[in-house]
Symmetry: C2
Subunit: 135 residues, 2 copies
DNA sequence: CTCTGTGCAAAGCGTTTGCAAACGA
DNA sequence: TCGTTTGCAAACGCTTTGCACAGAG
């Protein structure tokens, strides 16, 4: 159980109990949809409002405390900001894993061919996880 | 100006005038949001309904005639299905370019570390296009 | 104490659905 | 002709907004 008070403040966000719990939930679960986050939050705050979740998620994104992950054919999920990484998603059970991949060469090649100044690479790999391959 | 009648039928879609124009618009413009597509369609069909656009877009995705492209911080765009490729997007002017990148090695490495059986790689590179770099 | 955040209810907006008429094959 | 598609209007669901009260700093 981490304490996110300082990290929230570093991102210019007041440390309210609701925000601490959002941070904690994302820290424990890795990636969560709004829907799932709301369920989890309800267990701690029996009268929390969806509006509160949305307001905070949006603020946290603006302040780069969290990030949205867009996944093909699925709802977006949210995760705490961390070093650049890619995602692997199972098309059957919808599990999402982080994966560290070196995309430096790919990005370099892409900026040469496109003449873009590239500063971010979002990669989502889709397939079957180990469990689902066996079914 | 291509004729998409046959290609639509290969994807088990009747070739209605509306569908032919959606295909043509995507063929000419590369990537379009629903909103932009509606504008363009209105020029050819003065009483086309947004519902028709949505119904067709969804059908066309189901039948793999087109694909959705999810882009960070932007609305989704749609494109005709073609060989696997990645996207480069300008965060300033929102231009989108296709780019051919060999992700075989990256994907192979990813499947080894994750133990996933990977069959698709969606990569979106964000940055500044040549023009916007100069401003 | 002041300003921000919360919860509630209502509004907003993009997307989907149901239906009768029009149309493709 | 028959089954599908279209356009319209209504319904739907997710997200945002306005406001009064509560809470963080």
């Amino acid at each position: 159980m981490n304490n996110y008070t300082d990290i929230l403040r570093q991102h210019h966000l007041k440390a309210t109990p609701q925000r601490l719990e959002i941070a904690n939930a994302l820290g424990c679960n890795g990636h969560m949809s709004i829907e799932r986050l709301y369920e989890v939050m309800l267990e701690k705050f029996n009268s929390i409002s969806l509006a509160t979740i949305y307001k905070n998620i949006n603020l946290m994104i603006e302040n780069a405390f969290i990030q949205e992950v867009k996944i093909p054919n699925e709802k977006s999920v949210y995760e705490l900001s961390k070093d650049m990484h890619s995602h692997v998603v199972c098309t059957q059970c919808h599990e999402i894993q982080d994966i560290k991949l070196d995309l430096a060469q790919t990005t370099e090649l892409a900026s040469q061919t496109s003449h873009f100044k590239i500063n971010k690479a979002d990669l989502v790999l889709s397939g079957l996880c180990q469990k689902c391959q066996q079914l």
